[in-house]
Symmetry: C2
Amino acid sequence: MADKQLNSNDSIIYVGNKQPMKYVLGVVTQFQNGSEEVFVKARGRLISKAVDVVEILRNKLMKEVNVNNIETSTQKITGDKGDVNVSVISIRLLK
Amino acid sequence: MADKQLNSNDSIIYVGNKQPMKYVLGVVTQFQNGSEEVFVKARGRLISKAVDVVEILRNKLMKEVNVNNIETSTQKITGDKGDVNVSVISIRLLK
Protein backbone atom coordinates (compact mmCIF):
# COMPACT_ATOMS: atom_id res chain seq x y z
CA MET A 1 0.00 0.00 0.00
CA ALA A 2 1.37 3.40 -0.92
CA ASP A 3 0.11 5.04 2.22
CA LYS A 4 2.99 7.15 3.47
CA GLN A 5 1.36 8.97 6.35
CA LEU A 6 3.68 7.37 8.86
CA ASN A 7 4.52 9.40 11.88
CA SER A 8 6.74 8.38 14.77
CA ASN A 9 3.77 8.23 17.13
CA ASP A 10 1.32 6.22 15.08
CA SER A 11 1.33 2.63 13.95
CA ILE A 12 -0.53 0.86 11.21
CA ILE A 13 -1.68 -2.75 11.22
CA TYR A 14 -2.57 -3.99 7.74
CA VAL A 15 -5.06 -6.84 7.88
CA GLY A 16 -4.19 -9.70 5.54
CA ASN A 17 -4.96 -13.38 5.14
CA LYS A 18 -3.94 -14.65 8.58
CA GLN A 19 -6.26 -15.36 11.51
CA PRO A 20 -7.90 -12.26 13.03
CA MET A 21 -6.26 -12.91 16.40
CA LYS A 22 -2.83 -12.33 14.87
CA TYR A 23 -3.82 -8.75 14.03
CA VAL A 24 -5.55 -8.25 17.38
CA LEU A 25 -2.29 -9.14 19.13
CA GLY A 26 -0.43 -6.89 16.71
CA VAL A 27 -2.52 -3.93 17.87
CA VAL A 28 -2.00 -4.81 21.53
CA THR A 29 1.75 -5.01 20.95
CA GLN A 30 1.84 -1.60 19.28
CA PHE A 31 0.08 0.00 22.24
CA GLN A 32 2.38 -1.82 24.67
CA ASN A 33 5.35 -0.46 22.71
CA GLY A 34 4.17 3.06 23.43
CA SER A 35 1.99 3.99 20.44
CA GLU A 36 -0.64 6.60 21.24
CA GLU A 37 -2.80 5.55 18.32
CA VAL A 38 -2.99 2.53 16.06
CA PHE A 39 -4.66 2.39 12.63
CA VAL A 40 -6.18 -0.90 11.46
CA LYS A 41 -6.37 -0.86 7.66
CA ALA A 42 -7.68 -3.30 5.07
CA ARG A 43 -8.75 -3.49 1.46
CA GLY A 44 -11.50 -5.29 -0.42
CA ARG A 45 -12.88 -8.44 1.19
CA LEU A 46 -10.47 -8.07 4.10
CA ILE A 47 -12.48 -5.07 5.32
CA SER A 48 -14.84 -7.44 7.15
CA LYS A 49 -11.88 -9.02 8.94
CA ALA A 50 -10.57 -5.60 9.97
CA VAL A 51 -13.90 -4.93 11.70
CA ASP A 52 -13.70 -8.36 13.37
CA VAL A 53 -10.21 -7.48 14.63
CA VAL A 54 -11.44 -4.27 16.24
CA GLU A 55 -14.50 -5.95 17.74
CA ILE A 56 -12.46 -8.80 19.23
CA LEU A 57 -10.00 -6.26 20.60
CA ARG A 58 -12.52 -4.12 22.38
CA ASN A 59 -14.73 -6.96 23.58
CA LYS A 60 -11.99 -9.27 24.81
CA LEU A 61 -8.45 -7.96 25.15
CA MET A 62 -8.58 -4.16 25.49
CA LYS A 63 -11.96 -3.03 26.74
CA GLU A 64 -10.58 0.46 27.31
CA VAL A 65 -9.69 1.02 23.65
CA ASN A 66 -11.45 3.91 21.95
CA VAL A 67 -12.53 3.49 18.33
CA ASN A 68 -11.91 7.10 17.48
CA ASN A 69 -12.80 7.23 13.83
CA ILE A 70 -13.56 4.98 10.86
CA GLU A 71 -12.97 6.19 7.33
CA THR A 72 -13.44 4.56 3.96
CA SER A 73 -11.93 5.43 0.60
CA THR A 74 -11.30 3.98 -2.84
CA GLN A 75 -7.94 2.93 -4.30
CA LYS A 76 -7.34 2.37 -7.98
CA ILE A 77 -5.21 -0.72 -8.54
CA THR A 78 -3.65 -1.40 -11.91
CA GLY A 79 -3.67 -5.07 -12.81
CA ASP A 80 -3.49 -7.30 -15.88
CA LYS A 81 -7.02 -6.39 -16.92
CA GLY A 82 -6.64 -2.65 -16.37
CA ASP A 83 -7.61 -0.49 -13.43
CA VAL A 84 -9.78 -1.88 -10.68
CA ASN A 85 -11.33 0.15 -7.88
CA VAL A 86 -10.92 -1.34 -4.42
CA SER A 87 -12.51 -0.07 -1.22
CA VAL A 88 -10.28 0.66 1.75
CA ILE A 89 -11.09 1.01 5.45
CA SER A 90 -9.02 2.81 8.06
CA ILE A 91 -10.00 2.41 11.71
CA ARG A 92 -8.29 4.73 14.19
CA LEU A 93 -7.83 3.33 17.70
CA LEU A 94 -6.78 5.31 20.76
CA LYS A 95 -5.71 3.88 24.10
CA MET B 1 -44.14 4.20 -3.86
CA ALA B 2 -46.03 4.36 -0.60
CA ASP B 3 -46.72 7.85 0.68
CA LYS B 4 -45.67 6.92 4.19
CA GLN B 5 -42.04 6.72 3.01
CA LEU B 6 -42.12 10.46 2.42
CA ASN B 7 -42.54 11.01 6.14
CA SER B 8 -39.76 8.80 7.43
CA ASN B 9 -36.71 10.75 8.51
CA ASP B 10 -34.35 7.83 8.49
CA SER B 11 -34.10 4.75 6.37
CA ILE B 12 -32.03 1.63 6.64
CA ILE B 13 -30.59 -0.35 3.74
CA TYR B 14 -29.47 -3.83 4.79
CA VAL B 15 -26.76 -5.16 2.50
CA GLY B 16 -27.29 -8.78 1.49
CA ASN B 17 -26.22 -11.17 -1.24
CA LYS B 18 -27.27 -9.18 -4.30
CA GLN B 19 -25.04 -7.02 -6.50
CA PRO B 20 -23.71 -3.86 -4.79
CA MET B 21 -25.43 -1.62 -7.34
CA LYS B 22 -28.83 -2.82 -6.12
CA TYR B 23 -28.09 -1.36 -2.68
CA VAL B 24 -26.53 1.78 -4.15
CA LEU B 25 -29.78 2.43 -6.03
CA GLY B 26 -31.71 1.62 -2.86
CA VAL B 27 -29.91 4.44 -1.05
CA VAL B 28 -30.50 6.87 -3.92
CA THR B 29 -34.19 5.98 -3.91
CA GLN B 30 -34.48 6.58 -0.17
CA PHE B 31 -32.97 10.05 -0.51
CA GLN B 32 -35.20 10.80 -3.50
CA ASN B 33 -38.19 9.79 -1.39
CA GLY B 34 -37.33 12.49 1.11
CA SER B 35 -35.13 10.77 3.69
CA GLU B 36 -32.77 13.11 5.48
CA GLU B 37 -30.42 10.29 6.41
CA VAL B 38 -29.89 6.72 5.28
CA PHE B 39 -28.10 4.00 7.22
CA VAL B 40 -26.28 1.27 5.30
CA LYS B 41 -25.93 -1.78 7.54
CA ALA B 42 -24.32 -5.18 7.11
CA ARG B 43 -23.09 -8.14 9.11
CA GLY B 44 -20.13 -10.48 8.84
CA ARG B 45 -18.58 -10.89 5.40
CA LEU B 46 -21.12 -8.52 3.90
CA ILE B 47 -19.41 -5.63 5.72
CA SER B 48 -16.93 -5.33 2.83
CA LYS B 49 -19.81 -5.02 0.39
CA ALA B 50 -21.44 -2.30 2.51
CA VAL B 51 -18.25 -0.25 2.20
CA ASP B 52 -18.25 -0.88 -1.58
CA VAL B 53 -21.85 0.37 -1.73
CA VAL B 54 -20.94 3.63 -0.01
CA GLU B 55 -17.81 4.13 -2.12
CA ILE B 56 -19.69 3.52 -5.39
CA LEU B 57 -22.40 5.90 -4.22
CA ARG B 58 -20.12 8.78 -3.40
CA ASN B 59 -17.74 8.31 -6.33
CA LYS B 60 -20.34 7.76 -9.02
CA LEU B 61 -23.99 8.50 -8.30
CA MET B 62 -24.18 10.98 -5.41
CA LYS B 63 -20.94 12.91 -5.05
CA GLU B 64 -22.60 15.28 -2.60
CA VAL B 65 -23.40 12.56 -0.06
CA ASN B 66 -21.81 13.00 3.35
CA VAL B 67 -20.55 9.89 5.16
CA ASN B 68 -21.42 11.22 8.56
CA ASN B 69 -20.40 8.40 10.82
CA ILE B 70 -19.36 4.75 10.74
CA GLU B 71 -19.90 2.53 13.75
CA THR B 72 -19.17 -1.12 14.39
CA SER B 73 -20.60 -3.46 16.97
CA THR B 74 -20.97 -7.15 17.77
CA GLN B 75 -24.17 -9.21 17.62
CA LYS B 76 -24.58 -12.57 19.26
CA ILE B 77 -26.41 -14.98 17.00
CA THR B 78 -27.77 -18.25 18.32
CA GLY B 79 -27.41 -21.08 15.83
CA ASP B 80 -27.25 -24.85 15.75
CA LYS B 81 -23.77 -24.88 17.24
CA GLY B 82 -24.51 -22.36 19.98
CA ASP B 83 -23.83 -18.66 20.12
CA VAL B 84 -21.66 -17.02 17.49
CA ASN B 85 -20.41 -13.45 17.59
CA VAL B 86 -20.85 -11.53 14.35
CA SER B 87 -19.49 -8.07 13.59
CA VAL B 88 -21.90 -5.41 12.37
CA ILE B 89 -21.28 -2.13 10.55
CA SER B 90 -23.59 0.86 10.40
CA ILE B 91 -22.73 3.69 8.00
CA ARG B 92 -24.71 6.90 8.37
CA LEU B 93 -25.21 8.92 5.19
CA LEU B 94 -26.53 12.45 4.98
CA LYS B 95 -27.60 14.27 1.81
